[in-house]
């Protein structure tokens, strides 16, 4: 990945907002769907918006409203949703070398979603130290607000919106794979990393298509990491 420090044309938070704009293509349609499903499951508009504002984790929010509406025991709902979010444990540590001691990072961790992690993991090493908190704030706050606004829109007028513009749900979410691709492709600069990345991505596709969407990300990442170690050991032994 390109780690050369870049100078910023505008203020850091503006650059963060600009870099996070592609996320909206994925966030808003999914948030509209969540708002619609949540209201249909019996939650009010305010409750739906509060769920998005405070839980702020897509898959677990869908699971929360579905399980709560089906009458599942609440302790079980809490455990299942937290298990889905458990993959987030590796995000903060991966970014920590790029973050300074500023206490503002603590509340900002609320915004550390899958997409913001992927974006920050690629962009923070390229930014000067003093610009990082501003950049992250701009990117994370835009993503958070778009998630809340999309949820409110879905809760208030989701049915009408998806009827009038059915393509919103089908085309705009492609911005997410395109974003992840642009973030990960610079890493494929040698055979070891190319094979590792390819196996992680292919395993994730297979797991999701096979009906395991919630474990696909951590399991596929572990498959890729296992291949990385296997190939590296083979190379190290061959070099001895």
């Amino acid at each position: 990945m390109n780690t050369a420090t870049q100078t910023l044309a505008g203020t850091p938070w503006k650059q963060g907002v600009k870099d996070a704009i592609p996320l909206l293509g994925g966030y808003i349609p999914v948030a509209i769907s969540f708002g619609l499903i949540s209201v249909q499951s019996g939650f009010s508009v305010l409750e739906t918006v509060l769920i998005s504002a405070f839980i702020y984790a897509g898959a677990s929010q869908f699971l929360f409203v579905a399980m709560a509406a089906s009458g599942a025991p609440l302790w079980f709902v809490v455990i299942m949703t937290l298990l889905i979010n458990a993959r987030h444990v590796v995000y903060g540590p991966n970014l920590s070398p790029y973050l300074n001691q500023d206490k503002k990072w603590l509340p900002l961790m609320h915004g550390l979603t899958d997409q913001i992690f992927a974006l920050a993991h690629a962009r923070l090493p390229q930014l000067p130290d003093q610009a990082r908190i501003g950049w992250y704030t701009g990117a994370a706050v835009l993503a958070w607000l778009s998630w809340i606004a999309g949820t409110a829109l879905g809760a208030i007028a989701g049915g009408e919106l998806t009827q009038r513009w059915p393509l919103i749900n089908d085309i705009l979410p492609f911005a997410l794979p395109a974003l992840f691709f642009v973030l990960i492709v610079p890493r494929c600069n040698n055979r070891l990393w190319t094979l590792t990345i390819a196996l992680s991505a292919v395993s994730a596709v297979i797991l999701k298509v096979s009906g395991y969407p919630n474990v696909a990300i951590p399991l596929a990442a572990l498959c890729g990491a296992a291949l990385f170690y296997a190939l590296k050991n083979q190379r190290d032994m061959g070099g001895q």
Partner: protein, 113 residues
Amino acid sequence: MEMSMWLALASIAIGTYLIRLLPYIWMKRSLAKRQTEDGVGSMPTWLTILGPTMIAAMFGTSLVPAHSGALSWLATGVGILVTYGVWTRTRSMGLPILFGVLAFGIVMLFFVF
């Protein structure tokens, strides 16, 4: 919403925040401690590998079309190829994503809908 549901919501919200926050604080302290002890504060190797593989896995899961079918996969393939083509020329983020979404949308509009 009943009180028990509010409690569940608060537990999930606090739990999710702590899942994001505590490992960060742990690593920050661990790096500072290592730096004090041996002058070098480096992350464990497994963690530096898991970061990119998680992003690759997110890429994989997001690739799967909502309505799976040969033409949706064709649109996905074209979208990624166009994204890659524009990225090799520009090495930027915005334009490759924009053209990738456009290409995906055009294939979907012409062949799927």
